[in-house]
């Protein structure tokens, strides 16, 4: 069991709904997540499963139509959901930073890279001198292994390639925030050789600085290479949690198994049938386990009661009724 004070982020029973025309979308349904200091945590799942909603809730940047009827998000022992004004600004400036999927949209096209990084530093270090901000910005770019940082400071985003832009975003995120980096599909738009470079950079930087990482990805392969602990998410619920090696050696949840089988392997063997059906309608999610309608191992109880996360041993937790017997409900 890890010690209480090593926990950096602790999300308990987080529920998020979106108010839309004609009703409520019940997107997150009691999400639990915990990140220790210096830990690299992956959240894996397919489009629309609530990965981004979860991390946006941590940063309190959910869209205006979102409601959080239940749950707590503790960051360094304080509830993020209760923070306001100055506290929130500090949280975002020094505590948590985020890197988004599309670096082209994340950077402002009409300001130079230097202006944009210095802006971030200025907010985190008010009262400093412009010269210091500049030095910090150049240092941040240098740390991200970007060539010729002095010249890069004067460049506009359009002068850089996609991979370079994403590295700039990572440099910017880590320029001031040292506690937690949230990376939301940071390499999804990049080619595989560039993805490899960017992921290596992220890993090196977070390890050097002792920063915790939450990496959102739809790619199980990326999660396997980058993280210590993986959460598999489906339709707004965490369906499986395990140490990365354990998860890939011994996947248990039918959804995780389906996902793993769907991935074309370098070892060949053809392509399987995938997972039948599609993600449920959030306006009217299935009662019980949200995966039950697509699950080939579903039992009567699955469509009636939501499974808790059951302990499958060795810190491996599965939200599946098949593991209820003998297992102990953890949450």
């Amino acid at each position: 069991m890890k010690m209480e004070d090593s926990t950096l982020v602790e999300i308990k029973n987080l529920t998020v709904w979106y108010r839309v025309y004609g009703g409520l979308l019940r997107v997150l349904d009691g999400v639990n997540l915990s990140v220790a200091r210096g830990q690299k945590v992956g959240i894996v799942g397919e489009t629309g499963c609530g990965k981004t909603t979860t991390v946006k809730a941590i940063l309190r940047i959910l869209p205006k139509n979102a409601v959080v009827p239940e749950g707590t998000i503790m960051f360094q022992g304080r509830n993020v959901l209760k923070m306001r004004g100055r506290e929130l600004q500090e949280l975002r400036g020094q505590g948590i930073a985020m890197v988004f999927q599309d670096p082209t949209a994340a950077l402002n096209p009409v300001f130079t890279i230097g202006q944009q990084i210095m802006e971030v530093i200025k907010y985190a270090r008010p009262g400093g001198k412009a010269k210091e901000w500049r030095e910090m910005a150049v240092r941040a770019l240098k740390e991200a292994a970007l060539p010729d940082p002095e010249r890069l400071m004067e460049n506009y985003p359009f002068q850089l390639s996609g991979g370079m832009r994403q590295r700039v975003c990572i440099a910017m995120a880590l320029a001031t925030a040292r506690t937690l980096l949230i990376a939301d599909e940071p390499t999804t738009n990049l080619d595989v050789t560039i993805q490899d470079q960017v992921l290596r950079l992220v890993r090196r930087l977070v390890e050097e600085k002792g920063t915790s990482l939450i990496l959102i990805t739809h790619s199980l392969g990326v999660a396997r290479e980058m993280t210590d602990l993986v959460y598999v998410m489906y339709a707004g619920t965490m369906v499986e949690v395990a140490q990365t090696d354990e998860l890939f050696d011994n996947p248990l949840h039918p959804y995780t198994l389906g996902l793993l089988q769907s991935i074309p392997k370098l070892t060949g063997g053809g392509v399987t049938q995938g997972i039948a059906g599609r993600i449920p309608d959030y306006a009217n999610p299935p009662p019980g386990c949200r995966f039950a309608p697509r699950c080939d191992q579903a039992m009567p109880i699955c469509s009636e009661r939501k499974p808790a996360l059951f302990d499958a041993g060795g810190g491996h937790q599965v939200a599946c009724w098949r593991f209820a017997a003998g297992g102990e409900a953890v949450a």
Partner: protein, 334 residues
């Protein structure tokens, strides 16, 4: 006119496609001397990163672009002209499935109308027969027949791609170009689409030119794989051979960069050759071998002289100086 061997369907010879830029005399050399052959019933995977010219190659074969130089032979007939000068009967034979079914299907037409377009263009059947053919096409891709009354927005992304596949098959083509047909989809949906494509390929004896950036996918669907870099094919081999014995440093870099999900897969990756640098702009192609600025094994010759395509083993072609005579050969790359 030269005839292809009986099983040859498509042959591309030294195909080039340059696009003009605003600067006079400066060209985007998108495709810069590509040659390959496609046999009937084969699935050729054309793999490369963005900017490698794989899509331009496909579009030039389709006739969307007129080639700058080179020849395209289809069933022995020279079709190296733009679409306007291509006979209608030939267009029927070569069809395409695009990457994003969200934009390749007309949002203001029903699925039935969308599937009816190729039938009308090629004047296939009477009105009633076309209606029947539309239903038949939907059944072919295992979609409910009443989908013909629905609009693309009313169905899921995977189902839309099934419609796009049905549309490509409407005219009974012999060659289908698949331009990253699953890269906009989640893996569980991708699996379904790929299964359908492979089933149709077997049952209808189709030939696929499969454009993709995903080598793991190609491992499982292609009979041969050609790897493109900066407008040229740098390595081509049968699928088992390419993955067991990748020889071009770029192929090795690509393979070693792929994140995988098991130790067994890890073991098939080439010895770690680290990915460095980025693909240069096709406007500013480096002299010599296009890959040399990123290549850890480059020699002085690589920046001076362009390597020729060489058959190192039967059916295994590589464009690299390292595999020439007198230079450390295959297996020596570390």
């Amino acid at each position: 006119m030269k005839r292809l061997p009986d099983d040859g369907l498509l042959e591309v010879r030294d195909l080039k496609k340059y696009f003009p830029t605003k600067r006079k005399g400066v060209f985007v050399r998108a495709v810069d001397g590509v040659s390959f052959r496609l046999k009937r019933g084969e699935v050729l995977g054309l793999v490369g990163e963005s900017g490698s010219g794989k899509s331009t190659t496909a579009y030039t074969i389709l006739g969307v672009y007129e080639p700058t130089a080179g020849q395209i032979l289809f069933k022995g007939q020279d079709i190296s002209t733009g679409l306007a000068r291509r006979p209608l009967a030939l267009k029927k034979e070569i069809q395409i499935v695009f990457q994003d079914p969200g934009t390749s299907l007309n949002p203001s037409r029903t699925i039935g109308q969308i599937l009816g377009v190729p039938l009308a263009v090629h004047r296939i059947g009477t009105r009633a027969e076309r209606q029947q053919r539309i239903a038949e096409l939907l059944r072919l891709v295992e979609l409910p027949v009443d989908f013909m009354y629905k609009y693309p927005r009313a169905i899921g992304g995977g189902e839309r791609q099934m419609v796009a596949i049905a549309r490509a098959l409407a005219t009974n083509p012999s060659l289908v170009v698949l331009d990253e047909p699953t890269s906009a989809l989640d893996v569980s949906v991708q699996a379904k689409i790929i299964n359908m494509l492979m089933k149709l390929q077997r049952e209808l004896h189709l030939t696929y030119l499969f454009i993709s950036h995903d080598l793991s996918l190609m491992r499982n669907v292609a009979t041969r794989v050609a790897v493109m870099y900066l407008g040229k094919i740098c390595e081509e081999a049968s699928t088992p051979e390419l993955f067991a014995n990748p020889l071009h440093p770029y192929t090795q870099m690509l393979l070693s960069s792929i994140p995988v999900v098991s130790k067994a897969e890890e073991a098939t990756k080439p010895k770690r050759i680290r990915s460095t640098g980025e693909i240069p702009s096709p406007v500013d192609v480096p002299p010599g071998c296009g890959f040399h600025p990123r290549c850890p094994f480059r020699t002085e010759a690589c920046s001076r002289e362009e390597p020729a395509m060489r058959e190192v083993e039967e059916g295994h072609f590589v464009r690299c100086h390292l595999l020439g005579a007198g230079v450390p050969g295959d297996g020596q790359i570390h």
